[in-house]
C-alpha cells in the first residue's frame, strides 16, 4: 500500500497555465522520495495539492490512503509539512510556535508543552526557545519549521526545497536529520529539490519533473545506469557548436549527443577511447577545442538526457547559492 499515490494529477491555473500535467506517482511507506526539477517545473504545485493546500483541476491523489480532496482532514492529521519559505510567525517565540502547533493538532496544554521541549532539544534550539523567531538565522528557522512539522508525530513528511538558501553546514545538518528520521523512525519522506546532490544523497528513489510532467523515475543508480554510457563533455566556442556537432556525429560508439552554448555532451560506450577521437575530429576540422572531460553519468546527465537541458543553476556535483526559486 503506497504512502502517496497519484493518478493523472493535473493543475491548471488562471490563464490556462498548466503547472502539473498528468502526474502519476507511487511512493511506498518508508521511502525517501525526491522530486527533482528546475524552478517552475511543477514541484511546489504538486506538493501543495498533495498536502491539501491546493485543489487539483483533475486527477486523483491519495496520501496515507486518504483522498486529498475528499478527506482533507484525515490527510492533514497524517502528514507533516515544511514548506519552501519556512512559514513561521516572526513575533512568536520558538516555544510558543511549537506549543500552538501541538494544541491545534489536538494536544492538551501539558502534552504540547512537553512535546515542544522535546522537539526544541531535537533540533538544537533549546537555548533560543524563548527568543522571538525574527531573531533566528535562516538555518535556525528551517530547523524550527522542521520541528513544527513533527509536532503531531506524522508518519509522512513533505519537505519543499528543504535546503534552499542555506549555507553548506546547515544543509548538511538538514540532510542528516532527514536521514535520521527516515532510518530511526521509519518516516516516509517526500522532498522536492533542484539540487542534484541533494536528490543523490537523500533519495532512495526520485522522479524528474519538467514542464509539469514526469520525464524519468527510478533509483539514482538505475537512472544513471540507464544513461548507459560514459559522458564526454567538450567545451567549444558558441559559434562553432553546430559545426562540432556534425563532426562528432561520427564518433565511434556514440549513443546520443546534446549541445548547448557552452559546448557538447556526448554519451558514448567507451569514454577514454572517445576522447582521443573527439579531439582529433575537431582538430582536423580546425575547430578550437576547450576543456574536455570524461565521467560516469551523474544525475545531471540523467536530467540532460530526459529533458534536453541541464538543470538550471546546478553545476555537477553540488548545489549553488544563487538563491533563485
Amino acid at each position: 500500500m503506497p504512502a502517496i499515490e497519484t493518478e493523472q494529477l493535473r493543475r491548471e491555473f488562471k490563464g490556462g497555465i498548466v503547472a502539473v500535467d498528468g502526474v502519476n506517482l507511487a511512493v511506498d511507506e518508508g521511502e525517501v522520495f525526491a522530486f527533482l526539477g528546475p524552478n517552475g517545473a511543477g514541484k511546489t504545485t504538486t506538493v501543495r495539492m498533495l498536502t491539501t493546500l491546493l485543489r487539483p483541476t483533475s486527477g486523483r491523489a491519495y496520501v496515507a490512503g486518504f483522498d486529498v480532496t475528499r478527506e482533507q482532514h484525515a490527510v492533514r492529521r497524517s502528514i507533516g509539512v515544511a514548506l519552501q519559505e519556512a512559514g513561521l510567525d516572526a513575533l512568536a517565540t520558538g516555544r510558543e510556535l511549537l506549543e500552538l502547533q501541538g494544541r491545534l493538532f489536538g494536544m492538551n496544554a501539558g502534552a504540547s508543552r512537553a512535546r515542544a521541549v522535546e522537539l526544541l532539544e531535537l533540533v538544537g534550539l533549546t537555548d533560543a526557545a524563548d527568543r522571538q523567531v525574527k531573531t533566528y538565522s535562516g538555518g535556525m528557522k528551517r530547523r524550527l519549521d522542521l520541528a513544527s512539522a513533527l509536532v503531531h508525530r506524522p508518519r509522512l513528511l513533505f519537505l519543499d526545497e528543504p535546503t534552499e538558501g542555506l549555507d553548506p553546514a546547515s544543509r548538511q545538518a538538514v540532510w542528516a536529520e532527514v536521514q535520521r528520521l527516515n532510518r530511526e523512525m521509519g518516516m516516509t519522506v517526500f522532498l522536492t529539490t533542484h539540487y542534484l546532490e541533494e536528490a543523490d544523497r537523500l533519495a532512495g528513489r526520485l522522479a524528474i519533473i519538467d514542464h509539469g510532467r514526469i520525464v524519468a523515475e527510478g533509483t539514482p543508480e538505475a537512472l544513471k545506469a540507464a544513461v548507459g554510457a560514459d559522458v564526454v563533455t567538450v567545451a567549444v566556442h558558441r559559434e562553432r557548436v553546430e559545426d562540432a556537432r556534425s563532426l562528432l556525429a561520427k564518433t565511434d560508439g556514440l549513443r546520443d549527443i546534446r549541445s548547448d552554448d557552452a559546448g557538447l555532451t556526448l554519451f558514448v560506450e567507451n569514454g577514454t577511447q572517445a576522447v582521443a577521437q573527439v579531439v582529433r575530429l575537431l582538430d582536423s576540422a580546425g575547430v578550437p577545442v576547450g576543456p574536455v572531460a570524461v565521467s560516469r553519468p551523474s544525475l545531471d546527465e540523467v536530467f540532460l538526457k530526459a529533458t534536453g537541458s541541464r538543470l538550471e543553476g546546478a553545476e555537477t556535483g553540488g548545489g549553488t547559492e544563487n538563491g533563485n526559486r
Binding site: A74, L83, D89
Partner: protein
C-alpha cells in the same frame, strides 16, 4: 485503488460532534495568539488610541464655544462617538493576516486540522476584543475629563459595544481585502474608505448645519445613522428611533463585509 486500507497510516476519523468543540477550541487558541501579536506590535496599537483622543480634545477645544452658542450644550457627548469611531477602525484589521499570508505561516495554519472558519473567526474575535479595549480607554479618558453621560454606566457600556460592533463589521472589509489580495499595501489602502464614510456624515456638526450637498451625502451614508444611534446613548437617552437604525446599519454592514471575508477565504483555498 488506494482508497482501501492503509493499516499503519489510517487513523479513525473523528466523531462528528467533535468538530464543534474542536473549532471553538481552535478559535480560542488563535485569538490568544492574535492578541499576543497585538501586544508585541505597539506600533499598531498606540496610534489607534492617540488619534481619537487627540481629535476629541482638539475639536472640543476649538469648537466647543461655537457649539454652545448655537445651542449644542453637551458638545462632549456629541463628540465622543466620533472619537470612538476613530478608536475602533484603526487600520490594522487584516494586517496580521496579510503578514501571515506573506510569510507562509497562514499555510502552516491551514495544514493543521483546525477548521478554516476558525482561522478567520479567531482573528476577528481577537480584533473585536482589541477594539473594545481601545474604545473603553477612550471612553474612560472622556469621562475622566468631564463628560456627562446621559444613559449612565449601562448606556456607556452599550455605547462601547455598539462602537466595537461597528469596528468588527468594518474590519470585515480589511479581512476580505487581506484574504483576497494577500497584499499589505492593498489592505492598508482600506484606510481611504474611511474618508467618505467618516467625514461625509454629521461627524463634526449636526445635519442642519451641513452644506446642502454634504447633507445629501450624510443622509445616504449609513455612518450617519450609526453616529445618531451612538449620540442618542451619549447625549439624548435611550431613544429607540435613533438606536434601532444604528443597530440595523451595523448589522447590514457586518453581514456584507463578513460574508465578503468568508468568500475571500474560500477563494484562497481553491
Amino acid at each position: 485503488m488506494a482508497t482501501g486500507e492503509t493499516a499503519v497510516l489510517r487513523q479513525p476519523a473523528l466523531p462528528r460532534w467533535h468538530f464543534g468543540r474542536q473549532t471553538a477550541r481552535a478559535i480560542g487558541l488563535l485569538a490568544v495568539r492574535e492578541l499576543r501579536l497585538a501586544v508585541r506590535t505597539p506600533a499598531y496599537l498606540v496610534p489607534n488610541l492617540i488619534v481619537p483622543i487627540f481629535f476629541y480634545f482638539v475639536t472640543l477645544g476649538s469648537l466647543e464655544q461655537f457649539a454652545n452658542q448655537s445651542g449644542l450644550t453637551n458638545f462632549e457627548g456629541f463628540l465622543l462617538p466620533m472619537a470612538l469611531l476613530f478608536a475602533v477602525q484603526g487600520g490594522s484589521a487584516g494586517l496580521n493576516m496579510v503578514t501571515d499570508i506573506e510569510s507562509g505561516y497562514f499555510d502552516k495554519l491551514l495544514l493543521t486540522p483546525a477548521s478554516r472558519i476558525a482561522l478567520l473567526v479567531g482573528a476577528m474575535s481577537a480584533d473585536f476584543f482589541r477594539i473594545m479595549v481601545q474604545a473603553l480607554v477612550v471612553l474612560v479618558v472622556a469621562v475622566a475629563t468631564g463628560l456627562n453621560f446621559e444613559t449612565g454606566i449601562v448606556g456607556a457600556l452599550a455605547l462601547v459595544l455598539l462602537a466595537s460592533s461597528f469596528g468588527l463589521a468594518y474590519s470585515g472589509i480589511g479581512f476580505a481585502i487581506a484574504l483576497k489580495t494577500g497584499n499589505a499595501q492593498a489592505t492598508q489602502s482600506m484606510w481611504f474608505l474611511t474618508m467618505p464614510l467618516m467625514f461625509m456624515t454629521t461627524l463634526f456638526a449636526p445635519k442642519e448645519a451641513l452644506a446642502g450637498w454634504l447633507e445629501v451625502a450624510a443622509t445616504v451614508n449609513p455612518m450617519t445613522y450609526i453616529l445618531d444611534g451612538m449620540r442618542a446613548l451619549s447625549m439624548r437617552g435611550w431613544v429607540v428611533e435613533d438606536i434601532g437604525p444604528a443597530v440595523v446599519a451595523i448589522a447590514c454592514l457586518g453581514a456584507v463585509s463578513i460574508s465578503l471575508a468568508f468568500l475571500a477565504l474560500r477563494g484562497r483555498l481553491q
